[in-house]
């Protein structure tokens, strides 16, 4: 015999939704998308309120990947936190390393040598290409174009090879140090990177041919998930998502850091703010990154790759093993940490996903009093309800794909 059963909704997002729905009394459906759904790129859960197939409202529910990075940072030295930055935006770990190193250097008031800056520019731009390759590939795959993902992943593999060459790790790089780098760039890095830069534009053009004039791709993306410039600014959206909405703002241009003022590159800007514009911005940004990489490789200066600040920068390993002075500095820097001054700084870098900021409050000593990570994915995801309203449930996949977020960074 059939019986009915009252199911109590534990989850408060769903419960709040039910009371809302009761008031309306309409034929609405609540659908959980995620936390493990192929298009949520990690563990994002979106609670959708549907009227038939139309999205009436959407509530992103985050926190499934929360590891307490900020808490951890308060309990270790500045240098010890570098590996944790790899795991923020794990599709572009090099860019996170660079941003974090500049933030701590700003707190300490030190400047890094030109060679270090150039290498960091190369790191950040390689990371940008790597992240955009995956972002576009995953977006296309979610919409149904499987080929693009595989072709772009072939190129990403070469970037991993370059990462391996420069720092020994393919994925969790931890390449920067406070005031410099873990090691100098090997001699065969630049030739290998030039070869990669020669091959990459051909792949980008191939993908361009596959997608940009593809009728299915255009119809899935044009006028879908439109984000107006005013909304984008109000919601704090940054990166390619902001530029896709037609706001020309790039930290590399607005507040040049790490020598970006010396490179020639353009900032692509969209006109409509839909999924297609965000895709186009990413495509063009990869081409501009190739331009920057060529310039950086051509103008790579010689000389020091670590700042000559013995009290802050870890000394060279060879010197630690043979010289007394360096051994002392190494010991103090590793055990007590650098002696950072008291003060508050905020440094933000133009990361592939948007503005990655580190807000450090120091009370002096080797550990931060508070380290707030301003994660672009966290802020950008807030725009989902605005973008999704009124679209079909299938468009949600395109919207999430075009936002290009990473949950490791969002949940921290």
């Amino acid at each position: 015999m059939a019986t009915t059963q009252n199911i109590e909704l534990i989850d408060s997002a769903a419960r709040a939704q039910r009371t809302f729905e009761d008031k309306l009394g309409g034929e609405k459906m609540i659908l959980n998308m995620g936390p493990s759904h192929p298009s949520t790129h990690g563990v994002l859960r979106v609670v959708l309120e549907l009227d038939g197939e139309e999205i009436i409202n959407a509530w992103p529910d985050i926190g499934y990947l929360h590891r307490g990075d900020e808490k951890i940072a308060e309990n270790m030295t500045y240098t010890q936190f570098i590996p944790y930055t790899d795991r923020l935006d794990y599709l572009a770990p090099l860019a996170n390393n660079v941003a974090y190193a500049y933030a701590v250097e700003k707190l300490c008031g030190i400047d890094v040598p030109p060679r270090c800056k150039s290498i960091r520019v190369i790191c950040a731009e390689l990371a940008r290409i790597s992240s955009h390759l995956l972002g576009i590939g995953a977006m296309a795959m979610d919409i149904g174009a499987m080929t693009v993902f595989l072709w772009l992943f072939r190129e990403r593999e070469k970037i991993y090879d370059l990462c391996e060459l420069i720092c020994g790790a393919r994925f969790t790089t931890s390449y920067t140090r406070i005031g410099g780098l873990a090691n100098d760039m090997p001699d065969d890095f630049l030739p290998m990177m030039r070869k990669f830069l020669k091959d990459l534009p051909a792949t980008i053009d191939e993908v361009d041919k596959l997608l940009t004039r593809n009728k299915i791709f255009i119809e899935r993306n044009r006028e879908i998930g439109v984000l107006s410039p005013a909304d984008a600014i109000d919601l704090g959206v940054t990166g390619p998502n902001l530029r896709g909405s037609g706001v020309e703002w790039d930290i590399r241009k607005a507040h040049p850091y790490g020598g970006y003022e010396n490179y020639q590159f353009d900032v692509p800007v969209g006109t409509m703010g839909d999924c297609f514009d965000r895709y186009l911005c990413r495509m063009e940004e990869m081409r501009q990154s190739v331009r920057i990489l060529h310039q950086a490789a051509d103008t790579m200066p010689d000389g020091l790759w670590n700042a000559p600040e013995a009290k802050i920068v870890l000394p060279e390993k060879k010197a630690v093993l043979t010289k007394m002075e360096e051994l002392i500095h190494h010991f103090i820097n590793v055990t007590e940490g650098i002696n950072a001054p008291a003060g508050e700084v905020y440094f933000s870098a133009e990361n592939p996903k948007g503005e990655l900021g580190f807000y450090i409050i120091s009370k002096g000593g080797g550990t931060p009093h508070r380290l707030k990570i301003r994660a672009p994915s966290f802020v950008n995801l807030q725009a989902v309800p605005v973008m999704a309203k009124g679209h079909m449930i299938g468009d949600m996949v395109a919207i999430l794909g075009s936002l290009d977020f990473v949950m490791g960074e969002c949940d921290r």
Binding site: I10, D11, S12, A13, A16, I62, G63, H66, G68, E70, K71, I72, N75, M76, T77, K106, L107, G109, I233, D234, L235, G236, V247, W249, A254, H255, T335, E336, G337, G343, E344, V345, Y346, S348, E355, G357, Y359, I361, G365, G366, T367, H369, R370, K372, R374, F378, V379, Q382, D411, R412
Partner: protein
């Protein structure tokens, strides 16, 4: 408009509600009165062009007279400059007016500050936990919350109801009670054996 000019305008418009501005590494921070926060934010957005709220973070100054503070980092796309506002929040009255009416992006940031520090934002449309689960009893970014965590009930799921246990790392190099020992003291080689380390932690 530079941040200095904005601060000057604030000082004339809201006399008595602003503290002494601080400059460090070219960044300007001004402490403002908690009661006037929303007014000041709206003024800065409409009159001074700070159209973007880049970041909002809670801070726990454990041991200070007024324990918590909230920092607002404002950005002006037009003038290309940052300005930081700071408000202090005493422990016995953990309520701040919400600025979601000024910038919509404050929504999730304020939820995070509530989740992590327990600071309540008056007028927030949906002040729920965002990173931790609903019903979690603690605010983990507070300095008196141990790094290893505390046991807490997990929300019931269709599959299984569980319990989150504290990480079994007592005495480990990175496990600390807040404000107790410096990084140098926590260095494992400070003490000889793990049991000694444990005892030290117990007594301190």
């Amino acid at each position: 408009m530079t941040p200095q000019e904005a601060i000057k305008q604030l000082e004339t418009r809201f006399a008595g509600a602003t503290g002494v501005p601080v400059e460090f590494r070219g960044e300007f921070t001004v402490t403002v009165a908690r009661e006037k926060l929303v007014e000041i934010c709206r003024f800065l957005k409409t009159e001074c062009g700070f159209d973007m709220l880049t970041d909002l973070s809670g801070v726990d100054n454990f041991g200070d007279d007024s324990r918590y503070e909230v920092d607002y980092l404002l950005y002006s796309l037009k003038h290309r400059c940052h300005l930081r506002l700071k408000i202090v929040v005493p422990e016995d009255n953990l309520v701040v007016d919400s600025v979601t009416g000024v910038w919509r992006t404050a929504d999730w940031h304020e939820r995070e500050a509530f989740d992590m520090f327990g600071i309540r934002f008056h007028g927030h449309p949906n002040l729920r936990r965002i990173l931790m689960w609903d019903g979690y009893p603690y605010h983990p970014m507070r300095k008196d919350f141990p790094l290893a965590g505390l046991p807490a009930d997990l929300p019931e799921t269709a599959v299984d109801a569980g319990r989150a246990e504290a990480a079994p790392m007592i005495g480990g190099p990175f496990v600390t009670t807040s404000g107790a020992r410096t990084a140098a003291d926590r260095e494992p080689r400070q003490t000889d054996t793990a049991s000694e380390r444990f005892e030290k932690k117990e007594t301190s």
